[in-house]
Symmetry: C2
Subunit: 197 residues, 2 copies
C-alpha cells in the first residue's frame, strides 16, 4: 500500500483536521462522517483511527483548531490601535460564529462519548480565550479586585454567548430580534457601569 513516508504523523494530523473542518463547515456535526473525511484525504479509515484513536479524538482536534483560529481572530482585531476594546471583543465573538456557524456550533454540541470532561490540553485552549476576556474586563475596571473581575468576566462571557447562541440558532429570528450584537453590548456596558459604581 505504499505511502509509509508520504507524510509525517503531524502532517497527517493536519491533513485530517483541515479536511474535517471543511466537511464540518459544510454538513454540521450531525452529518459529519469520519469515514468520508478519511476517503477525501485519501487514507483509509484505519489510518484515521491510528492517528486520532477515536471519533471523539478527531472532533476534539478539529474543535481545538477552531478555537485557536477564534483566538487568533480576536487577537488580530484587538491589535488594531485605538477603538473600543470591549465592543471589539463582543463583535469578534459574533463575527467568528457567523462566519463559520456549523464549526462554531460543533464547539458546543460535541460531547465525549462517555460524558467525561474534555482532556487537559483542550481545556487549556479554552482557558486561553477566557484569559483574553478577563484581561479586557480588568482593564475596564482598574480599581476592582481580581476575583471580582474574573467572576464578572465569566458572567459577561455567558451573556454574550447567550445572545450569540440565539443569533446563530435563529431563535432571535423567531422572536423578532434584529440587532443581537447591540443588545449584547448594551448588557455588557450596563454590567461594567454597575461594577464601577
Amino acid at each position: 500500500m505504499g505511502r509509509r513516508s508520504d507524510h509525517t504523523r503531524s502532517e497527517l494530523k493536519t491533513l485530517f483536521v483541515d479536511e474535517g473542518r471543511r466537511q464540518l463547515a459544510r454538513t454540521g456535526l450531525a452529518g459529519f462522517s469520519a469515514r468520508d473525511v478519511a476517503k477525501r484525504v485519501g487514507y483509509s479509515i484505519g489510518t484515521l483511527y491510528n492517528v486520532f484513536g477515536s471519533y471523539d479524538g478527531l472532533v476534539l482536534a478539529i474543535n481545538a483548531r477552531t478555537l485557536a483560529l477564534w483566538g487568533d481572530h480576536l487577537r488580530q482585531r484587538l491589535a488594531a490601535p485605538g477603538g473600543d476594546r470591549i465592543a471589539t471583543l463582543v463583535d469578534g465573538y459574533f463575527d467568528f460564529a457567523a462566519r463559520e456557524p456549523r464549526a462554531w456550533i460543533a464547539l458546543y454540541e460535541h460531547h465525549m462519548a462517555d460524558g467525561a470532561p474534555a482532556p487537559e490540553w483542550y481545556q487549556a485552549v479554552v482557558a486561553d480565550l477566557m484569559g483574553m476576556v478577563a484581561a479586557e474586563i480588568a482593564a475596564a475596571l482598574p480599581s476592582a479586585e481580581p476575583s471580582g473581575v474574573l467572576s464578572l468576566a465569566r458572567s459577561l462571557l455567558a451573556t454574550v454567548h447567550g445572545h450569540c447562541f440565539f443569533s446563530v440558532y435563529r431563535t432571535f429570528d423567531m422572536l423578532g430580534e434584529t440587532a443581537p450584537i447591540d443588545a449584547a453590548l448594551a448588557r455588557v456596558r450596563e454590567a461594567i457601569a454597575a461594577a464601577r459604581a
Copy 2:
C-alpha cells in the same frame, strides 16, 4: 399482527413520546435511538414512522412536550403568591434545565435534517414561553413602551440562557464559576435598573 385497536393514534403518540423522553433523559440526543424507543413501547419501527413520519418528527414531538412541561413548571412557580417574580423566573429556568439536563440540551441540539426552521405549531410553543417572560418584564417596567419591553425581554432571556448553558455544559465548572444563578440574576437586575433610569 393483531393490535389494530389497542391504542388510538393519539394514545400511540403519547406512548412513543413518553418512552422517548425517558430514553432521551438517560442517553442524550447522541445516543438516542428511534428503533429502541419503538422496541421498548412494543410496536415496530414501521409503526413509529407511520405516526411521526421521520426521526425529526419524533424528536420534535418529544421536545414540544419538554417545552410544555417547562412552561408548566414556570407557571406553577409564578403562581405562588408574593415573592420576587423575576428571581422566580430566573431560578425556574435553571431549575428545569438542571433537573433534566439531557432533555433540555436536546431542545437546542436537535436540528431539522434539511436545515429548515421548526414547523409553526412548534414555534408557537416557544412563543408561549417568550410571552411569559415578556409579561414579567413589562410588569417590572410599568412606564416603558411595549416594543422596548419586548426587545429587553429577548435580551434578558438570552442573558439567562447563556448562564444556564455554561452551567449545564459544565463550562462554568471549567472556569471556576460556582454561583451561575446569582450571576445571571445580577445581570438581569442591572439591566432592568438601567431601563428604569
